[in-house]
Symmetry: C2
């Protein structure tokens, strides 16, 4: 079997953990499997590097930031190769140039376009464990790019797809996908299986277990994903096309605190104004999530939307630059908000699910700011201070603990 | 003018120093010059990385060690580009893959073969300051290599040669080349000019100011080298083909403590035995410096030679592996030795110079272990405890302070 395994920063944070990961991989290698191991930067190294950069330049160019950040994974993979060869198994580390991992050009948030697998195949043919830098790629200018937070999951899935691997195991500090974050909801339950679509909504909504693009990619190429703990041998959760389990109405609850709500007050109430706002944001590479537009009863209207917190400064900047074009009177923003979502493939044919969620929140005395829904998901924006209460209320209401 | 500037680890050890280097470069950029800036890893980062590696694997593969170490310069160049753009000047960092800096395949000690200058020219044409990782290259397998300790000097000179730069300035923590290490010999004097050959001998012999291969390369391609202080605006020392100054008999004294002496005792006294010893060492990529062979009056003989201290373990290992082939009775080694050398183009026509040096050492009560000479150099191996005394005695004897 060819297996792609991805270990996050926590799993390679120090010498002992690197040795543990090495031993775990070697056990499977010695059972005859071929392994490709994708690693993130050690522990909080990416944050340390960002702090170093911002200390020198509060607004560093994204191109140079990627150049800096990619040293993090390169350090991990080199040390892991040393650990494995210390334990007597041939291993080789490869960075994005060596792979080569071709991405779109956008620094800080690139997408993988194509992977040359010749070098990897060549190393695997020599029965080496191949250790590859997650999170990073190379664009057409021969510059490093990074795939955004959590991008190492995407690297692993993309490699599994390109290599036609038998499975792609994502090792994290939890032992699978839960019906809710077990640190917040005490009686959250681990799921044995989940569909790509459910996982996608959970990932997008901040379940924090998997990077959403990695799930999209797994779905697109039918990569069998397994979410497992790097600390235990527990079986984890399998993510695949269809699960054999009977569909639950709601399969999980997720929260995401990385949200900023921005309001444009007093926009001209003319056709195309919303388009202009979101076009400006799209061109600045800012993803807009929930959108609320006031019903334009007068000459002006308001548009409120949410974005990731780290896009806040960029968003405010481009919107202020285009103030004349948009003609609004005021921008306001609030980062003390959070999204809470329920996800479940069973929801599609059950129109009462959203109402049941709102009722649970109402009973818990939680105010809803914004609402957005998809076929298998309901999301509400609430005050960040209410997140814990909301998740427990919803989890209980849908009986997810059993 | 196109100027290549190289700054060592001390010059970029922290935020303040990075900012200082950035400001210094920008001043020249704003005077209309084009700049290529070569950087080493910050402060002691290379040593930190080596320690990390050895903590995981006491004998890491050189290929993986290079993969690890190259993160050091990549960090420096990215931060420097951020510093320059913070100060309002366009800058771009490039690593060995991006340049591309082609080297021989030998990890840890590669030599530069060829530099593609297209990318650098392209960036310079856009009036950017181009910041390039020193010390590192890429071999034909698309793997990182490093050029050995101090290799960033060589990177800078090779770039200056490839780009036909007007000069190559090497910034260090001293303000030029001295007649002896000013920390050891109090009345050492800074030289205004020195020839490539003299500098080469000083570099090889551990003057510590310039990497020897950088001087070889500068000589080969006629690159005008300037050794300057990164802390002051002092003029420094110019290294070039011929100096206008009258030739001194001896131009400098240098010491090198990075020496291990190894003796093979009781070798079979047969033809070709010395060849075998040095062939084994050459194949293990170990540079042998001084050699002393006992006159074979009996059935056995001894060979003593010196190598760099960091090659000691490798040398002992390969010699022990080949014990049967070589048939010696014993290996002994001593790292408490040092080389002291005098260098001077004027020496060639003055046979009495070596004798004068030996007399000075004799008067200072210093025992000489081994001697080696070239046309413009005399080197002695002595106890490391005598280095300071020896340098001062020799410096005084040849009147270098004036």
């Amino acid at each position: 079997m060819l297996i792609v395994k991805k270990f996050g920063g926590t799993s390679v944070a120090d010498k002992e953990r690197i040795m543990n990961v090495a031993k775990r991989c070697i056990k499977e290698y010695q059972a005859g499997h071929n392994l490709v191991v994708v690693l993130s930067a050690m522990g909080k190294q990416t944050d340390v590097l960002i702090d170093m950069a911002k200390d020198i330049n509060p607004n560093p160019s994204k191109r140079e930031l990627d150049m800096l950040l990619t040293t993090g994974e390169q350090t991990s993979v080199a040390l892991m190769a040393m650990a494995m060869s210390y334990l007597g198994v041939p291993a080789v580390s490869l960075n994005a140039f060596q792979v080569a991992m071709h991405t779109t050009r956008s620094y800080g948030n690139a997408r993988i376009k194509r992977i040359d697998i010749d070098r990897i195949r060549h190393e695997l043919d020599q029965r080496k464990i191949v250790i590859i830098t997650g999170f990073q790629g190379v664009n057409k200018y021969d510059d490093y790019t990074t795939l955004g937070r959590g991008g190492s999951d995407t690297t692993a899935v993309a490699l599994a797809a390109a290599l036609h691997a038998d499975k792609c195991e994502i090792f994290t500090d939890v032992d699978g996908v839960y019906t809710a974050d077990p640190r917040i909801v005490k009686n959250a339950r681990k799921m044995k299986e989940i569909t790509y679509d459910e996982m996608l909504d959970l990932a997008t909504l901040g379940a924090g277990v998997l990077h959403n693009r990695s799930v999209e990619l797994a779905k697109k190429y039918g990569v069998k994903l397994v979410v497992r703990s790097s600390m235990s041998e527990a079986e984890g959760t399998i993510v695949k096309e269809e699960t054999k389990l009977e569909r639950m109405l709601v399969s999980g609850v997720a929260a995401d605190k990385n949200v900023t709500r921005i309001s444009l007050i007093g926009l001209k109430n003319v056709p195309g104004i919303a388009f202009k706002v979101f076009d400006i944001l799209a061109k600045a590479n800012i993803n807009v999530d929930m959108i609320l537009q006031s019903i334009g009863r007068s000459e002006t209207k308001d548009i409120t939307f949410t974005i990731a917190q780290d896009s806040r400064d960029d968003a405010i900047k481009v919107l202020e630059e285009k103030k004349d074009l948009l003609g609004y009177s005021e921008i306001s923003d609030n980062s003390k908000v959070a999204k809470v979502s329920i996800v479940g493939a069973g929801m599609m044919s059950n129109p009462g699910v959203a109402a049941k969620m709102f009722e649970a929140l109402y009973n818990a005395d939680i105010n809803i700011n914004m609402i957005s829904t998809s076929e298998i998901r309901v999301t509400v924006l609430i005050d960040v201070k209410d997140v814990e209460k909301a998740m427990n209320a919803v989890h209980d209401t849908f009986g997810l603990e059993e």
